[in-house]
Symmetry: C2
Subunit: 114 residues, 2 copies
């Protein structure tokens, strides 16, 4: 008899050389940078300071062989910040791992009814 609605949640993150590389928040930041073309706009939409967002991007870039985010200067739009192919790949790989983990957790029987 199960009186309660029981749900199992999980979170994942990846470290490189012992340093936080990506997790849910940074992936969201990368996605928003890709959408807005601006670290400042992405930061604002997440309630982060520009500095925190910039630092996060800098750490991710430094921990990657190829940068995930680059500054693009000039052009008719006056430049901006863009997500590279590596950035897009990183997002999609993280999301695929997250989805696998979610699927795995859904299969676990949480019979904690004591």
């Amino acid at each position: 008899m199960n009186k309660y609605k029981i749900e199992l949640f999980g979170n994942i993150w990846i470290k490189k050389n012992g340093k936080n590389f990506i997790g849910k928040g940074r992936i969201e930041l990368l996605e928003k940078i890709g959408k807005t073309g601006s670290i400042a706009k992405a930061a604002r939409s997440m309630g982060m300071s520009y500095k925190a967002a910039w630092d996060a991007v800098d750490i991710m870039n430094k921990l990657s062989s190829k940068p995930l985010v680059i500054k693009k200067s000039g052009g008719k739009d006056g430049g901006g910040t863009i997500l590279t192919d590596s950035g897009r790949d990183t997002i999609s790989k993280f999301k695929s791992i997250e989805a696998k983990n979610r699927k795995f957790l859904d299969q676990i029987n949480i019979d904690i009814e004591l």
Copy 2:
């Protein structure tokens, strides 16, 4: 070619009726209560306030059919707080789910080298 040491981490937690029931921290609290026989001592050893620890215990007890922690009054030791069988079962079930998840994450290929 893998220049970096890449590691995948995961965290799990369980909600009951939409409320946080147990996670890593609360399980540690239950274990310390079991070991010390005291909410105050368990709280102190985790750097938590007594109130925060008491509130956490209260929430867990209220979300369970049988309490996980009970006050034992009297006796030659002057009473104290003990972990019930339900408390011990909850710890071991959570840890078993955590171990399964860890094993699953270990099998995932994290080929994020971009």
